[in-house]
Symmetry: C2
Subunit: 146 residues, 2 copies
Amino acid sequence: MISKKTKYAINALVYLAKENKGTEPIQISKIAESENIPRKFLEAILLVLKNAGLLSSRKGKAGGYFLHKSPDEINIADVMRLFDGPIALLPCVTHNYYERCEECKDEANCGIRSVFADVRNETVNMLKHATLTEIMHRAEAMKKEI
Amino acid sequence: MISKKTKYAINALVYLAKENKGTEPIQISKIAESENIPRKFLEAILLVLKNAGLLSSRKGKAGGYFLHKSPDEINIADVMRLFDGPIALLPCVTHNYYERCEECKDEANCGIRSVFADVRNETVNMLKHATLTEIMHRAEAMKKEI
DNA sequence: ATAAATTCCTATTATATCGGTAGGAATTAT
DNA sequence: ATAATTCCTACCGATATAATAGGAATTTAT
């Protein structure tokens, strides 16, 4: 399961992608209210997204948040990694955070590892393609289907 | 990431599948030593696998564990579910343990849900096909490749 | 019958993570 | 100056993880 942080982050990003017509920043409290996210908790989440370069902010009165990258450059894989760490199900098949399984006898010939490597590749591939744009397209498509 | 319990369980099962030529039970301590798993911890794991019907045991002197099902009927998906619960990354896309996301406004038209449903289907499909037999075949194949 | 070896069962523990709250400092528009 | 907002640090309770400890129950071998 992904953490609530990740889930909230994705929802907030999608909301910003939909709402951000001009470049007017949108306040934390507005996002929190619309997306049913605890306000203070969301505060911390948006800060992380900002420091990771996905969001920009304006401080002070009439301040708020807005997308820093284009909606088709922001994908679920990156957001998940930011909050929940590696996507892989085994430490020995992560690309960026590789760690040997201490109990493993022969990593190079491990059938279990081979399975989880396939799963990782497929999952990352799917989540990389799940951009904000793609997510919005899917929601649109579902609404049109009766 | 899967838990160590799941990882240990899979390793123990593969070991039993490989070692179980006759029907002689194999002792916890032998599995623990061979697979580098803390003995007492493995004890609890094997008990769960037994109660789930994957293993059988003989008690007392010369007792131990052995597969209850055929190696091609035991797959990683089932083992993961047993120890780590649902495989899906969102509660609203699990088949067996469905739970609504409390913050969600419109589940039926949720683009995020749609993405994670795809991921779930693909992952479960791959893990269902990852039987003990398949795992052993993969290891064999890798050893033959130089 | 007895001893030895083993699974089975119940508690306990240490550590970390998750989900969230609290309070205030810094910044900016009006 | 004031009001509104982001930014930052610290804290907290609950739960899960990865074990460990100790002994009861069971069975085989002698």
